[in-house]
């Protein structure tokens, strides 16, 4: 029952990730694409944690999830500054 709930949540999040990818590809402005990629990053973090609990190897996947969250945050900040000012630094 526990494994079934983990698998259902994981598969649902993967389907929602591909639905968000539609907005990342089609989206009319760059801001729409960045918002979609930000959501995909958060979903990837959650899917990594779910995979860690499914395979019973939580420590490794937890570290990867924390680093991925950090990289996703830096990507959004960098692209927002680029859209706003034209340069990153």
């Amino acid at each position: 029952m526990e494994l079934t709930a983990l698998l259902v949540t994981c598969l649902g999040l993967m389907i929602l990730t591909f639905a968000s990818l539609y907005r990342a590809i089609v989206g009319p402005t760059p801001a729409d694409r960045v918002v979609a990629i930000n959501v995909i990053g958060t979903k990837t973090v959650v899917v990594l944690m779910l995979i860690g609990y499914i395979f019973q190897e939580v420590p490794y996947y937890l570290d990867v999830a924390i680093v991925y969250a950090l990289i996703s945050f830096l990507l959004t900040i960098g692209v927002a500054r680029y859209i706003e000012r034209g340069t990153i630094v």
Partner: protein, 102 residues
């Protein structure tokens, strides 16, 4: 047993919020409203799924603390990133469209 049921309820609630955020991302008309929907998805959805994971077997107390650290990190960084993104959208393309009265 009761912990497993509570964890599964949290997982399904988080999946509901992720679904609502993705529907908002696909159907809202412009970038700022899409950002509004996806920020709910990031905070409530990811928070509920990760809290629900801490009820399951497979992690020690130390790992539960690290999962809570990940939740706090997401809750701090996601609104900050959404704020930067919304400011960029407002300053570049939205001033005439979103000013609301000017």
């Amino acid at each position: 047993m009761i912990a497993t049921v509570i964890g599964i309820a949290f997982l399904l609630g988080g999946l509901f919020f992720f679904t609502a955020g993705t529907v908002g991302l696909l159907r809202f008309p412009d970038a700022l409203t899409r950002m509004h929907a996806t920020t709910k998805c990031d905070t409530l959805g990811a928070g509920m799924v990760l809290v629900g994971l801490t009820f399951f077997e497979g992690g020690s107390m130390y790992l539960v603390l690290k999962v809570i650290l990940l939740i706090v990190f997401l809750w701090v960084t996601t609104p900050a990133a959404a704020h930067c993104m919304a400011r960029a959208v407002y300053r570049t393309q939205g001033r005439d469209k979103h000013a609301g009265g000017n």
